[in-house]
Symmetry: C2
Subunit: 338 residues, 2 copies
């Protein structure tokens, strides 16, 4: 390191004690205005930069929160992070971003790393492989507050969460397809360990029931919802001569895969098969016909989750309803002609 300008250096230069400098720099009311000014002036002159590492070590607080998401490049997550960062920044916190890449092992090592770095709290949207959340309990053991957003972990009941009303959104999406005259609707679902996919499945089933369409569990296909999964599942349906009218995918990637495969074998969309991809973000405009939401829920959820976390960090007791924040999505059902 280079900048050896510590509080001691500026103390010596001013012939005062370093503790006075410390107090002055922290705007303590036990220091004369004059010395404060002197210190600040000298500090600027020497190019002093506080060493937060040392300060944080001493105070046992890092003013840093850890954020764990499956993949930062997904638009939903990047906008959530954007909201988190904005809120955190305005409250004087730094943010460490980590991607689990949907792998539990990575998530585990990330959590340990965050604990080592003494983050003051953690925001997480768990990976598809996460189930019992044993690694998350380590946070509790170390008194590191935790808030889930979007994807929860069932095992940790008493943890605060911020989420979307997925069941309702899925219900509306399915209703939309039914309204278009579709009856045999395939549902691409994700790991049932994740709340979001369970909820979306619920909404799908509810819509079918209300429209007196028999629920056929063979039409629910679970996968990791990557584009490739969408392709393969669709191929399987076609190859097995299963007759379907539409696909309701629990995310946009798998829907895109389905559309691409269907087009590649000459099917007309939505004339022969309707496809809807559930997505929190307008990114799904690329699919056809697509379901998308009006507002930037990622941003909203990020802000909300971060605010909640910092309130917990500050020792505020949350009211029960605040521990389970659910955001109502407004949906747009749009026909794309891509």
């Amino acid at each position: 390191m280079s900048n050896k300008v510590t509080i001691h250096v500026i103390a010596k230069a001013l012939n005062i004690d370093s503790s006075t400098v410390s107090r002055a720099l922290n705007n303590s009311d036990r220091v004369t205005k004059k010395t404060k000014e002197l210190v600040l002036k000298k500090a600027k002159e020497l190019g002093y930069q506080r060493n937060s590492l040392a300060s944080n070590l001493r105070k046992n607080k890092s003013y840093t929160i850890g954020v764990v998401v499956p993949r930062i490049s997904r638009h939903f997550f990047s906008s959530a992070i954007s909201g988190i960062e904005e809120m955190a920044y305005s409250l004087g916190y730094n943010v460490i971003i980590c991607q689990s890449l949907e792998e539990l092992s990575r998530e585990e090592s990330i959590i340990n790393n965050l604990i080592s770095n003494r983050v003051d709290g953690v925001l997480i949207s768990v990976s598809m492989e996460t189930e019992d959340g044993a690694h998350l309990k380590a946070l509790k053991q170390n008194n590191v507050p935790l808030v889930f957003f979007d994807r929860h972990c069932n095992a940790l009941l008493n943890t605060s969460k911020v989420s979307l009303d997925d069941a309702h959104a899925a219900y509306e999406a399915t209703n939309y397809l039914i309204g278009k005259g579709n009856k045999r609707i395939v549902h691409f679902s994700g790991p049932q360990t994740l709340n979001i996919y369970r909820e979306r499945l619920k909404g799908y089933i509810k819509a079918l029931k209300e429209n007196n369409i028999p629920f056929d569990e063979d039409l629910v296909l679970s996968s990791r919802l990557m584009e490739l999964n969408g392709k393969e599942l669709t191929k399987k349906i076609i190859d097995n001569n299963i007759v379907i009218d539409a696909i309701f995918s629990a995310n946009d990637l798998a829907a895109i895969g389905a559309i691409k495969y269907l087009k590649s074998i000459g099917k007309k969309i939505p004339d022969e098969v309707s496809v809807i991809g559930f997505s929190n973000e307008p990114v799904s405009e690329v699919i056809e016909p697509s379901l998308t939401t009006i507002n930037q829920f990622g941003l909203k959820m990020g802000k909300k989750a971060c605010e909640l976390l910092i309130r917990i960090i500050n020792g505020e007791a949350l009211k029960p309803h605040e521990k389970n924040e659910i955001i109502k999505p407004e949906l747009i059902l749009r026909e794309s002609t891509l």
Copy 2:
């Protein structure tokens, strides 16, 4: 804090010295296998979590790099960060993400904060307001390595950069429009303090010259390239009865604004006015007709920049050509029928 399990605690429990514990935990070769095992076992048993703050303070190294981008929610930047994070993680570094929101004042305070946090290096894509980069010189003064990606700062000449061949891409884009028979082509440009917008303008001019189309500087309109700017500039063109065949926008947002405005007044695109939006990412598929790049340049640039930075951090001397990495874009010119 809670988890008071330090190396001293486990040292006492084992009746050995804390320095031995430290060595064991760091897998030093100056410790018996037996004691290592004993220490590791005890550590796990007591739920020890290393305090990186203390370790980093002692070592004067944080294993953290700071990343500053205008906006994380832009697809280009989120994928760049994705690449950065991936590379950093694999090399044992953490990443602190910060958004300048295109504001110089925010960028300044971010840089100071990063210095305070003793990051080992900084990756930055500067804001639209950044010019002389005085705040970045503070990094140099503190021996904090710096690498630019995408958007440079002219004032800092000897700093490593990773960028796209913007001039070439813009040249091809303009050529594409000319090939379609367009002659009076408006160029939406950004602040000329930024290399990327200067380069894109260069490419535009070069294409005109090669095709013997006179360069009319009134057709170059500078703005901050937000969607609103695109709308307003287009409105101004129309309102002033300026005849144009096409618009080549230096980014996708302004292009979208232009398209929306043109459609709102009943113009046919691209029949009456062609619009192309320059973008590093396939996100521009939403515009029509659009120019987009095949590969994920954000990811590539992020990885490359991060790798470079960490090599500098490790004291490697870069060869001159490595200090100015330019990635050749492969372009797709695609007609969208949105």
